[in-house]
Symmetry: D2
Subunit: 118 residues, 4 copies
């Protein structure tokens, strides 16, 4: 039952205890974010539907680790850029609700397609 | 003060109210994750150090929105693959503590370099 | 019937005629490469097999343009880093031939899987 | 002095001799393209300007190999999607010439910024 704040605090404490902030800059954090997301994607390659289904079940821990790595950089970058990620999330969800009213969007692929890139 | 569980519940409720799960599959969620991370990265391009510094201050909301989009897919993919992201995060942080003991890693660039890809 | 050298020469001439080298640095070229590759990938999202098949036929020009953009940065980065891309390509193909002998690799998925990441 | 056609022919011959086309589909080729571009990008991380400068000189072969891998998927995807990459390249360069006339674009950062994403 962890909050974004608690997780971010852990990451920053880990970094500060090692005096590693000196090696960080926002641009390289952004590179890390993309590189970790790419490591998630790599798991999905070269498998047909049933192979992928089995793979996802047997490699849950490995994929979880890559998702955590991606989350790690989202949280650390938000911290270093002084972004309130929780507030930004709530704002986005309100905007999504307004842009895709339930009664108009329900089961509609075209609405979904517009939405797909958020 | 949001937990991962609360945020994930909101995202899933949003999707289910629109009956959009039918359009989702894990592989395309992974593509979304990479594409949104790339949109974060795009903000960091073609600027020298001082231009980037100013840009990051004046575009905080835009970058926050892209970070939220990335987080969105991390949470939704974790949900759909039945991954306990909070538990995976805690496991990772314990592993990081073991791999990079404070007294050995403090201020060390080589330790950091080993760490950098988590 | 264009050679890599001819294409690279055109790109560099285009840049130099505009005095744009001053805005280039290798790191941002690498960012461009990833961002353009991501634009190729975006075409493949949220479509089932038959939808994708139709889409690829009807969007050939758009995908071609994104592939050219990716190639553009491969060529320009090679030029700026003084890399002989043609020689590196021939070296790689020789290595591939040695690593995956025809008689051992033919139709073998496991050999292919090892190969898949080159 | 290799042409795109010659390089593509080599890649396709390599694949066909091993009967590996059966494992290929355009979507996974697009994933490969992004993953290889990400491997190029990884070389540019966590280094300051002078460290990067030295690194790029001492790791030229490794970066060349990643650029070749990226090129490999550009060529193979173009082949499989029946795209004439050379023609698409010439079209793009003509469009670039029209969009950024030399006399208006010379040394202009704003023109360049518009151009940057091609």
């Amino acid at each position: 039952m962890q909050t974004l704040q608690e997780m971010t605090a852990k990451i920053v404490a880990f970094r500060d205890a090692r005096d590693w902030k000196q090696f960080h800059n926002p641009k390289d954090l952004a590179l890390s974010l993309v590189l970790e997301a790419a490591e998630v994607l790599e798991h999905f390659q070269w498998k047909n539907a049933s192979e992928l289904d089995n793979y996802l079940k047997s490699h849950k821990d490995a994929i979880a680790a890559e998702l955590v790595d991606t989350l790690y950089w989202v949280l650390l970058m938000s911290h270093d850029l002084d972004i309130d990620l929780g507030a930004a999330f709530q704002k986005k969800m309100r905007e999504n609700d307004e842009k895709y009213p339930e009664d108009q969007a329900k089961g509609k692929h075209d609405k979904y397609t517009a939405y797909k890139n958020l």
